[in-house]
């Protein structure tokens, strides 16, 4: 591999297009993280495709010096499925948002995850429609005042990770736009996973929903509000790790003081467990759950929630093609035309 994949630099992955996001948008940080990461992955720009739908985040492919399609609203997972199944040799990334991926394109997202198509899906969640100038999205909290909800949103929100896990996703992770290293670590793990990888990125829209995640992700909040998940380690957070997560006898997760329960009582994270119920419970431990919206904020887990091995769709399609060829030989058009029985007229 090292012979054929020559080293690239960040510049090789940066297109000549002027970036057109609003100044201060969280998308800049995500773009920088991806462009900085790419040279580390040992892949080539010509073998990489970025596919997006519609929305602010979906302008992303224009800024990557790779192959790319800026598609139509919600359909990026479908278009990307076509590319990935046709060409398993390519690295295919999907860039989507909370409106694009969870509202108009929800059906394609869940089916791409269910099929385990070899895609790295980055969902930029800013809990608002930005490109259309500020309507509520499927992840907006109950009561949210927007242009289309002047009396407050009455739509119960989605939790993106819970949706992905419910759709049988084999890799699910969360990161946020203010921590480039965490983003790069998370994207690296997502890219390394064969199959569909789903990453929710908490992203700030400073124009229409500023500081939506600040109570969790702002520098001064992080220690007490962010829970860093590490496979195989007890789930601890807070200054000096004073807090932790336990599972009660009723099956619910609770935030506890480690001093009160002892470290052995803490839940140990297991991202590789086939059963997704722990990942699901952790995903629900989130500021995005409706029960936390009205009366405050919950410490929120970040990192890889779930990473399990499952055959990817494109490989299975390829295997069936190879199997058919080995059993029947390569296709012969004349034989096909004769396959339903023929007769001769002389």
């Amino acid at each position: 591999m090292t012979d054929t994949v020559s080293l690239t630099t960040k510049k090789d992955w940066t297109s000549d297009q002027e970036v057109r996001w609003c100044p201060g948008c969280g998308d800049y940080g995500i773009l920088l993280a991806v462009q900085t990461l790419m040279p580390e992955l040992g892949i080539r720009p010509e073998n990489t495709v970025f596919v997006s739908g519609i929305g602010c985040s979906s302008r992303f492919p224009y800024y990557m010096n790779t192959y790319g399609i800026h598609g139509i609203h919600g359909r990026a997972p479908a278009i990307a499925t076509g590319i990935a199944v046709a060409r398993p040799d390519l690295d295919v990334w999907v860039i989507t948002g909370d409106g694009d991926g969870l509202s108009i394109g929800g059906n394609h997202l869940i089916h791409a995850l269910r099929r385990n198509v070899n895609l790295t899906i980055l969902l930029f969640n800013n809990r608002i429609y930005g490109l259309t100038k500020g309507q509520y999205s499927p992840t907006s909290e109950l009561g949210k005042i927007t242009k289309s909800t002047p009396m407050g949103s009455i739509d119960h929100p989605f939790n993106p990770l819970a949706v992905a896990l419910g759709a049988e996703a084999s890799f699910v992770a969360r990161t946020h736009d203010l921590d480039r290293k965490h983003m790069m670590d998370t994207f690296r793990a997502a890219h390394a996973h064969r199959g569909a990888s789903f990453v929710e990125i908490l992203q700030n829209c400073n124009v229409f929903n500023d500081d939506a995640f600040a109570p969790v992700t702002a520098r001064k909040s992080r220690a007490e509000m962010m829970i860093d998940l590490h496979h195989g380690e007890p789930i601890r957070f807070g200054q000096d790790g004073h807090a932790g997560v336990v599972m009660g006898s009723d099956g619910r997760l609770r935030i506890v003081e480690v001093a009160e329960v002892g470290i052995d009582a803490l839940l140990v994270h297991d991202a590789y467990r086939d059963d997704a119920s722990l990942a699901f419970a952790l995903a629900r431990l989130s500021t995005q759950q409706a029960e936390y919206c009205s009366d405050g904020w919950s410490p929120t887990p970040f990192g890889v929630f779930r990473s399990v091995e499952r055959a990817d769709y494109g490989s299975m399609v390829g295997a069936q093609l190879a199997d058919a060829s080995s059993k029947r030989g390569p296709g012969d058009l004349r034989a096909l035309l004769q396959s339903a029985g023929t007769w001769q007229v002389s």
Binding site: E46, H111, S325, L333
Partner: protein, 637 residues
């Protein structure tokens, strides 16, 4: 049954016959018709079939809604239609009789399953008296056969349970008709053995089939059998082909001829699903099929595969075309090759899923937002679906555009003998991928412009992922002519709208001019497209034999139209446009060429009969006294 073994008179030779099998959806009439067709095809007859069945898989038994019919015309000469009126009707129950007796020609042969004409079954369809006894069938030659009980007698001794025994009665009917028309039995025996293995079902069906055959031979209900001699067909190797299978094979062939892998994204929908099934069986050709989560995804996957360098395609029917519309618009903007195959059915909405109609020409032409032209190709017969698929792919690849290929339920499910084409003679439709930089920047550096067009075809380069140095991003936003960068400026948008339109219009130079069939000096010219071909062909042949002059032009390319079409049509005082819609092509040619074309419309979920078109022709030339359907300018019907 009789014990006598005296031979009946020799079979009477007839030139053609139309047979219609009618029964419950669960009676296996489609299978019966299909087997009769196959043995006739192998015998060497020309033939044309028309399966006619309800949307419900199993409507309540014994009701008119649940009647499933299969009509086939077999002939010793070249025919193209399944016949206007059957000369033989097999009615398995009172519902089938009620549904189809009106189609049987006067004096025709009616064969009924007498066992089903009991009070309960008569009540179900509202017969107040038994039509076998009340004289209402006196205009037909009625033959009553106790098919259920004879089938039970033939199969129960084999160990078949009474309850299951009657299920073989369609094979009894098939045996009876096979004798009546002197069909060889071997093909059916072989087929039953292949289909049902060597178990009890195989034995029961074979026994029922033989019992039906012998019943015809030994009873005196029929005074003699009939023979339809093999047709004088062009020498060569034939198969019996339905439109959907021919279309699927055409798509496989297109991939081979283009030297590209075939990628189908599809969502199940009647009557297109058989293409998905058939392509899914041919993975050894490198054909990838994905049953998508919905119609939109199916189109999106095909487009993604096209971007990645495959021959991308999606198959559907009318409702699915509506859902795919936005993706097709994106394909037009991306200028990537892709096929949308629409097997038309009755609509709007769910409409008549199993019945034919050809009313999607408008949505194919205009069913997208903004200025979004694309080429349209229409198949006209079951076997033509093969060639139409290749032609649609050729245009898509050469001009980097989505192409809509129209077929319909009639030719999709209908079948005909097909002289297999010489595979070697099929066209090479391959196009090269772009692998080199194609533009020089002002500062002298070489670069890749994804919208740098071929001056001849106006097609843009097709550079696929994996090609070094040609990385590019394309999307639905308006692109600058040449560089493909996002560009919202007024002049550029107008130029791009015109370029996209000119590219499609220019395809007219690359398709054959129309040719006039029939009398060039006729007063009336039929203009047809799609599956009306068969009925027009029969009507034109019959009319000319009667001494009525008529001309005929049939279109395979509906957008752009052949370049000589306007000139050809203007030469005729009258142009009649038969369509299974309210005059969609008629309006197009009126608008395009300012000619006073008249629509002949039918929207009954059924194809035209030749007789209907003959009547319309007679009315147009002033023969007869107004029994023809009214013609119109297409605005109303």
């Amino acid at each position: 049954m009789t014990d006598t073994v005296e031979r009946k008179p020799a079979a009477e030779t007839i030139t053609r016959v139309v047979v219609r099998f009618a029964g419950d959806s669960g009676d296996g009439m489609q299978l019966t018709g299909d087997r009769f067709t196959s043995s006739s095809a192998i015998f060497g007859n020309d033939l044309s079939t028309f399966p006619d069945f309800p949307a419900e898989i199993r409507a309540p038994a014994g009701t008119v809604n649940g009647v499933s019919s299969f009509q086939v015309q077999i002939s010793d000469h070249d025919i193209t239609t399944p016949g206007d009126a059957p000369g033989v009707l097999i009615a398995m129950n009172p519902a089938a009789l009620m549904a189809d007796i009106g189609r049987l020609e006067q004096g025709g042969l009616l064969i009924v399953n007498r066992d089903s004409f009991v009070q309960r079954d008569l009540d179900k369809v509202g017969y107040l008296t038994n039509p076998l006894e009340d004289g209402s069938l006196s205009n037909y030659r009625v033959v009553e056969v106790p098919m259920t009980s004879l089938t039970i007698q033939a199969t129960v001794p084999l160990g078949v349970k009474n309850r299951d025994a009657e299920r073989s009665k369609n094979f009894f009917a098939l045996g009876l008709i096979s004798w009546l028309f002197s069909r060889p039995r071997e093909p059916t025996w072989e087929w039953i053995a292949t289909k049902f293995g060597d178990g009890l079902i195989c034995a029961a069906n074979t026994a029922a089939f033989n019992a039906g055959y012998h019943f015809g031979e030994t009873t005196e209900l029929f005074d003699h059998a009939y023979q339809v001699e093999p047709a004088k067909m062009r020498a060569g190797e034939y198969t019996n082909i339905s439109g959907n299978i021919a279309l699927a094979w055409g798509l496989v062939a297109a991939g081979q001829l283009a030297k590209l892998p075939v990628f189908l994204g599809s969502y199940p929908i009647t009557p297109a699903s058989d293409i998905l099934h058939e392509l899914s069986k041919n993975k050894h050709f490198g054909v990838r099929t994905v049953q998508a989560e919905d119609e939109i995804a199916a189109a999106g996957m095909a487009l993604g595969a096209a971007f990645a360098g495959h021959l991308g395609m999606t198959t559907t029917s009318g409702p699915g075309v509506a859902l795919k519309s936005e993706t097709i618009s994106l394909a037009i903007s991306l200028e990537l090759p892709m096929l949308l195959i629409d097997i038309q059915r009755g609509g709007p909405s769910t409409g008549l899923p199993t019945k034919t109609e050809a009313a999607d020409l408008n949505i194919a032409m205009y069913g997208r937002h903004a200025e979004a032209p694309l080429p349209i190709v229409a198949a006209y017969s079951p076997s033509h679906c093969f060639h139409a698929a290749i032609e649609a792919a050729r245009i898509a690849l050469k001009y980097r555009t989505p192409v809509i290929l129209l077929s319909d339920g009639y030719i999709a499910n209908g079948s005909e003998p097909w002289l297999l084409p010489d595979v070697e003679s099929l066209p090479d439709i391959s196009v090269p991928f772009t692998t080199e930089l194609n533009h020089t920047a002002p500062d002298g550096t070489a670069e890749f412009w994804p919208y740098q067009r071929d001056p001849e075809t106006l097609a843009r380069p097709w550079a696929i992922p994996g090609t070094p140095d040609l990385m590019h991003r394309i999307g639905g936003l308006e692109k600058r002519d040449g560089s493909g960068d996002i560009d919202y400026t007024a002049e550029n948008h107008e130029r791009m709208v015109h370029l996209r339109a000119a590219k499609i219009a220019g395809i007219a130079k690359d398709i054959p001019p129309v040719e006039v069939v029939g009398d060039a000096d006729a007063d009336v010219c039929f203009l047809g497209w799609g599956s009306t071909w068969a009925a027009i062909d029969a009507a034109v042949q019959r009319s000319r034999r009667r001494g009525v002059k008529v001309a005929w032009v049939h279109l395979t390319h509906l957008n752009p139209l052949p370049s000589n079409l306007g000139e050809v049509l203007r030469a005729f005082p009258k142009v009649l446009v038969p369509e299974l819609n309210l005059g969609q092509l008629c309006r197009i040619v009126r608008a395009e060429f300012l000619i006073d074309a008249q629509s002949i419309s039918k929207v009954q979920g059924l194809p035209f009969t030749a007789r209907e078109l003959e009547d319309a022709l007679d009315a147009a030339v002033g023969i007869g006294l107004g029994s023809a359907p009214t013609t119109s300018n297409g605005a109303t019907s």
